[in-house]
């Protein structure tokens, strides 16, 4: 195979492929900004169209995320094959628990399944403004 025909080492993923990857997974991380500093929390999520939905208990995510710009990310690295990818969803978080706007309806249609213990009676949806992803092969 000629060098020019090789797959690129780092490729940007189109949004539809990012959404397919998001659909196939259920564990990601959300970043919220608290007093100027970002904080990262792992969450189990489910997709509802382009909306990322998760459940949470009372705490930082619920008190800080709704109405603010957040980031959601999933990634994977396969050390045997030397390939990795990451998908990032940027958007605004919505407390969907008792709301009936479009994002909240979508968030209610999703079925996130939290693995971590504790009551998580609140539902949050992330309405994306941008969904980006990249895939790479390990440097030679």
């Amino acid at each position: 195979m000629k060098a020019s025909e090789r797959e690129p080492e780092l490729e940007e993923l189109p949004e539809d492929e990012c959404l397919e990857i998001l659909e196939r997974h259920s564990l990601g991380r959300i970043a919220v900004v608290v007093q100027g500093q970002p904080q990262i929390f792992p969450v189990n999520y489910a997709m509802s169209g382009r909306i990322v939905a998760f459940r949470t208990g009372p705490g930082t995510k619920l008190s800080q995320a709704p109405g603010t710009k957040v980031c959601f990310e999933i990634d994977e690295y396969e050390s045997s094959g030397g390939t990795g990818w990451s998908v990032m969803v940027q958007g605004v978080a919505v407390d969907a628990t008792d709301s009936f706007d479009d994002v909240s309806w979508a968030a209610h249609a999703a079925t996130p399944w939290p693995l971590a213990p504790g009551a998580k009676p609140f539902r949050v949806g992330i309405e994306p403004s941008q969904i980006t992803g990249r895939r790479f092969r390990r440097r030679a």
Binding site: E9, R29, Q37, D75, G84, A116, G118, R138
Partner: protein, 145 residues
């Protein structure tokens, strides 16, 4: 594996968090851009002396991280054991590409091995202000769909 009982969350000790940070090399950094939007990027890192060191190329991380409050996180979920954990490091990032003294000079020799392609000639460190971690054993049985 020892750990919390099913359905319980255990707060990890400082030493347990440090041990986890030292035994992994892939995590995620969150930075905040000028429109107060958080961004998350996976990074390969090395942790020692309370500092998460990583390498990067010119771009968003290098533009936003140095001098800023950032966060760094690692986590894992073992579906066989039903055990999950996460460690969060909050701190301030500094560009250490040009070492300003013996400690930062030494960090340039730490084994940071980015797996993603591309030249990553810039070095940066996250000086931890706070390290917290938690571990849980899940009692959640997902119903068959």
């Amino acid at each position: 594996m020892r750990g919390p009982r099913s359905g319980q969350i255990e707060v990890l000790s400082d030493s347990a968090c440090v041990k986890l940070l030292r035994s992994h090399d892939l995590g995620r950094i969150a930075v905040v851009d000028r429109e107060v939007r958080p961004l998350i990027f996976p990074i390969n890192y090395f942790f020692d002396e309370g500092v998460v060191v990583f390498r990067t190329a010119p771009g968003t991380k290098l533009d936003l991280a140095p001098g800023a409050y950032v966060s760094f996180e690692i986590d894992d979920w073992d579906p066989n054991q039903g055990v999950g954990w996460s460690v969060l490091v909050k701190g301030i990032a500094h560009d250490i590409t040009q070492p300003r003294g013996a400690p930062t000079g030494r960090m340039r020799y730490w084994p940071v091995h980015p797996v993603a392609p591309g030249s990553r000639e810039h070095w940066a460190g996250i000086w931890a202000n706070e390290i917290t971690g938690r571990k849980f054993r899940s009692d959640a049985q997902r119903p068959a769909l």
